[in-house]
Symmetry: D2
Subunit: 178 residues, 4 copies
């Protein structure tokens, strides 16, 4: 294994919901590492724009397919349990199943929701301060986590990779009591 | 970020206990990815041999320093707690602290212990069957996990990366009752 | 707090799916500890029989209501995530939300499924051997876990109480590879 | 099993470090539930006073033995790992091993440390606000958790009972970056 070759050269990747945010970060990192990526999302214009941009940059390639996976997203709470169950079921075919638990990652959705609050900048600052590291995660960091799981984590199955900047450690102001 | 550059080029890494097993896997992967590695271990001959071998291969380089860190190893049980505590303390300096929990990884120590049992091959087979994936982990997989944490997991701190082939999932024969 | 008083005297408890198995264990333990339990299940005969039996024994009381909550059960995989989310949301009302992750607990459903295998006794033995403790859990142990969470765990919210006899610890035969 | 009997009647319990704080909470709850408790601590006066007080109240009894277990406390970070390892080792003797991870519990040590800060009341308020539940845990809640593990959690081994008021859930101000 050498660090100077493409980490996912010519392998095929499917990403659902990949036109923006974490999904976009994943599509981008895989294309940068040589993969052939098929990604789908509801937003046709955003999807086509990303497809064109990434295919220009290479070295991998990608293809956008419009689709609506919003119902799938609704059950996100079940993903860790589903990952473990599928890891057991699929291991007989040598298929690994892992997931990522992202904390505060700066995405268009995050920005949009912050924009709907009374003080957008204060909301963003609060989001940044929720992590030990004092900042939010990036789309690229999400993509690199997915690339690790796909390309290098060949002895990992059923794990949940925590991508949270240490937000669950130490004490902070948490009281919900009025 | 491009997949065709060295993932840890010219960065400095210190590995304690790196002349064999998981430590060796870590030293090797970092040198292959361009790092300057200082590693220490008790075994002088093994350390010097690994140093020579890896420096020939490059593209990074390494330096072996004889040392005895066996006491440090004895407290391995505390590593997850120590990792979380250090992640909190060091985050103010933008230093991340993470750890890896390896399950059955085939190392010289594992082989040596298996060789001391009544039926070496049966012991190794049992070790392999303890994972959903039906095999043990490798030194290289350990190294790649460490490389991910060091090079790409820039939004992870205080996490424990489970490298176990799914050994903790599903049911198996566990009864200890005679 | 004194050990000689009823642990849940006159408090109201609602149990969904309580006519057999783990639900029955929970209904029983709460009635034994003085609670007023409303429980529902699909099986009318079993529900009424349990209602009569427990009301005779006391010191608490119970009321059975026929209902079908099977859809609710289908999403069991999401329970830990839902528990944590609800713990956050409800804490402002001083309401705690916790869950139990039962491993192999001997229930009518377990027995029924074992009866459908080629060798019922071997299947049951296998189920028992999956735990460090060499046996399955009981309905009563499930009930006592729920009683602890309800009556005594007043500083716990969002936790997942693992009731598994140590099945997830140590190594066992897990390989799924043919 | 009936709720109106003593939950740990005539059983023997050993508590190290039991003259104040969480240890005192554990000693007290066990004596209240009928146990015969031997507890040790460095502080002779505090230990003897607690011994006398609890023996007056009953219904169980306790005996104080002066001892210094401070070294043991230093390795507290290793307790979860040690608990799991001991759970595996001791299960062959049908011995269960579990632990409690207490978060902010109001103890004499907590009060003492708060008293050394510039603004004692603000420090205590901050400690209370670190939990979803908006308050600290109590010694009695610690004792009840230990009683559950000892008396009722007969199908639990190797578990870590989280007693934290939800401090690890949701986001709070955590940034350590200056």
């Amino acid at each position: 294994m050498s660090g100077s070759t493409l980490r996912y050269g010519d392998k095929v990747v499917i990403v659902t919901g990949g036109s923006k945010g974490i999904g976009r970060g994943i599509v981008k990192v895989f294309v940068e590492n040589g993969a052939k990526v098929v990604f789908c999302a509801r937003g046709v214009a955003a999807g086509q724009a990303l497809e064109a941009e990434l295919n220009r940059a290479g070295p991998g390639s990608c293809k956008f397919v419009p689709c609506d996976i919003s119902k799938e997203e609704d059950i996100k709470g079940a993903i860790i349990a589903m990952t473990k169950a599928m890891a057991v079921d699929e291991s007989r075919y040598q298929v690994r199943v892992n997931c990522i638990s992202p904390g505060n990652v700066m995405t268009p959705l995050w920005e949009e929701l912050a924009g709907q609050t009374a003080d957008t900048l204060a909301t963003i600052k609060e989001g940044e301060n929720a992590q030990l590291l004092g900042r939010m995660g990036t789309e690229a960091e999400s993509g690199l986590a997915a690339l690790y799981l796909a390309a290098d984590a060949t002895f990992c199955t059923g794990i949940d990779l925590l991508l949270s900047g240490g937000a669950e450690l130490n004490y902070g102001y948490k009281s919900q009591v009025p």
